[in-house]
């Protein structure tokens, strides 16, 4: 399985948040600074786990996407069922050169989102998915 490339993003965000929180609370006291650091560390672990849970696997006939730490989800989406592929990049994502690929099927509950892909990989995945989707397209 390939891992989504988001470590840089999450690590940086966590570090900035930790530094920022530490700086702000140093005025109030060392205790709160330590607390903020601890919270930052917890957040870091949380974010790291969350990041690790995002994985995807391209198979011959379908795409597998997993996510979630507490609630673990694994979706299997056949290429033929794909209605369209979305590539979005928010401002934060864009500043790190990342993008999110989302697959839509006719079922609203299909939940196949791959966040934090590098721009090139997102483009490659999008092209591959749409090519495969077209080749195996199925009516409703």
């Amino acid at each position: 399985m390939r891992r989504a490339e988001v470590t840089t993003l999450t690590l940086l965000v966590a570090a900035i948040a930790g530094v920022g929180a530490g700086g702000a609370s140093a005025v109030a006291g060392v205790g709160s600074a330590l607390g903020a650091t601890a919270a930052g560390a917890v957040a870091l672990v949380f974010v790291r786990n969350r990041f690790r849970s995002w994985r995807y696997l391209e198979r011959d006939e379908d795409l597998i996407v997993t996510r979630g730490v507490l609630f673990r989800r694994l979706s299997v989406v056949p290429y033929g069922r794909m209605q369209f592929v979305d590539v979005t990049a928010g401002p934060v994502e864009r500043s790190f050169g990342l993008a999110t690929v989302k697959l839509h099927t006719a079922a609203a509950s299909t939940d196949a989102r791959i966040p934090g892909l590098e721009g090139d990989e997102a483009g490659r995945l999008r092209d591959r998915l749409s090519a495969l989707g077209e080749a195996r397209a199925q009516g409703l």
């Binding site: 673990r72 079922a107 199925q138």
Partner: protein, 465 residues
């Protein structure tokens, strides 16, 4: 592929259709006028002028609308053009039809008119509307569209219909009475009586709430009875035929292959009587013209009926006798103490079934070739217990069969198995945008889908006994 008839000449809607449309507009308008007139300071004469002006405007709009709307069949598409300033031309490819309805509102029924509504996947109801046509024209057009949908010559006469079942009025009324809101009303009434012995003011307040609730409830009940009155389900080679309605009648035709999922609902109060409700999900959104998201429309297949009737219908649509269901492991009781008694799921060669519900038992069938995606979800408690839920999604919102709280290993195995079987099912019944026959009887090998004459090509489900 399609019987290419020379393009028919343009046709208009029935000249009386503005009258029916106006009937709908004029009545609220008159009410509005009647309500506003006592308050208006003007003299009677000016009010009358206003009224007349309003009616004239409405009439002109109606007539212009009729003048600019026309339709015709071009090869394998139905084309509808409308609009005066903003011309709107719609092409409805018959191969993509999801359902064809003939709707007759009361006013139209009196005048012998009917509305034809053609539903395509992902389109709003407004898109394929022809309101109104003379009744025989509407029937004929429906037959032609459905014939073309199944890849036949459009002139093929409408195949005969085999009645499956009907819902007597008494049972329908009983089903409306025996519902959760009735329990609420009874509870409220008891509360009123109890409160009356304590304090008059509270009793009056509660009584008011009860009356308001009852009025709303009665309207809903009336609507349900009026909509589902005289419900008959029949089965024809071109699809399931449903007729219903008290004042305005609706005749629906649902091509069997277009069914995304079948749901069977057994509420608590109905269970002692052995009643259940059957619904089907079809692609195409219920309203609005949002194009990107494919929604589904829920159609009652049987508003209230007995187990045997429901069985015949599900067998007719899914083409299977029954799928053995298995309950989740006993430790799932800890996770789902209130629904464990109903939980069960299974899958066969063609279909996946999941049973859920705490008080109201809901069984959902999803044909394997309609599966959009398969998901495995595991919450924290489920992980501790070694359980997982597998969702089998079909097109639409929250349309899915759930394998709730299966053991984790079974869930992983199911995921692979269902994904693989769905793939095979799609291959076995390649449903491209081409024409297809009924699900129950796959075409005999070698038989072309078209040009084999009406008898052979118009096959579909085997008649149910």
């Amino acid at each position: 592929m399609t019987p290419h008839a020379p393009d028919a000449p343009w046709q208009r809607l029935h000249p009386l259709s503005p009258v029916v449309r106006l009937g709908r507009v004029v009545v609220p308008l008159l009410v509005l006028v009647a309500v506003s007139s006592p308050r208006g300071g003007g003299s009677d004469a000016s009010l009358v002028v206003e009224d007349v002006a309003l009616v004239v405007v409405a009439v002109v709009v109606g007539v212009v609308q009729w003048l600019v709307t026309r339709w015709r069949i071009e090869g394998a598409t139905l084309r509808i053009e409308t609009g005066l300033l903003r011309r709107d031309s719609r092409q409805l490819p018959v191969a993509r039809i999801q359902a064809v309805d003939v709707i007759r509102p009361f006013a139209a029924r009196v005048l012998g008119l009917a509305e034809l509504r053609i539903r395509l996947a992902g389109s709003g109801a407004a898109k394929g509307r022809l309101a109104y046509l003379a009744e025989p024209v509407a029937q004929d057009l429906r037959a032609r569209l459905l014939a073309a949908h199944h890849g036949l010559d459009m002139a093929t006469p409408e195949p005969p219909e085999l009645p499956i079942t009907a819902v007597p009025a008494g049972r329908l009324v009983g089903s409306v009475v025996l519902s959760a809101p009735t329990l609420v009303s009874v509870a409220l009434a008891v509360a009123v009586v109890a409160a009356a012995s304590v304090s008059r003011a509270v009793a009056v307040g509660l009584g008011g709430a009860l009356v308001a609730y009852l009025i709303g409830r009665a309207r809903m009940a009336w609507r349900r009875v009026a909509e589902q009155y005289g419900f008959t389900v029949g089965h024809a080679p071109d699809g399931i035929r449903i007729r219903r309605g008290l004042l305005s009648t609706v005749a629906e035709t649902i091509p069997v292959r277009r069914v995304q999922a079948v749901r069977r609902i057994e509420p608590l109060l109905w269970r002692p009587l052995g009643w259940c409700r059957l619904e089907v999900e079809l692609a195409g959104s219920a309203g609005g013209d949002q194009g990107t998201r494919a929604g589904t429309v829920t159609r009652a297949l049987l508003p209230v009926g007995f187990d045997a009737e429901a069985r015949v219908l599900t067998r007719g649509i899914l083409g299977i006798e029954g799928v053995p269901l298995s309950p989740p492991p006993p430790r799932a009781r800890l996770k789902a103490p209130f629904s464990y008694h109903f939980l069960g799921a299974g899958h066969g060669q063609d279909v996946a079934v999941g049973v859920t519900g705490r008080v109201c038992k809901v069984t959902c069938w999803v044909p394997l070739d309609k599966i959009q995606s398969v998901r495995r979800v595991q919450g924290p408690l489920q992980r501790r217990l070694g359980l997982a839920t597998v969702h089998v999604d079909a097109a639409g919102r929250r349309v899915r069969a759930q394998f709730r709280d299966r053991s984790a290993t079974e869930a992983s195995r199911l995921l692979e198995e269902l994904a693989g079987q769905a793939r095979q099912a799609r291959r076995a019944r390649p449903e491209s945008l081409d024409f297809g026959a009924g699900r129950g009887a796959p075409p005999p090998p070698g038989a072309a889908l078209h040009g084999t004459g009406p008898e052979r090509a118009r096959r579909g489900l085997d008649p149910q006994d």
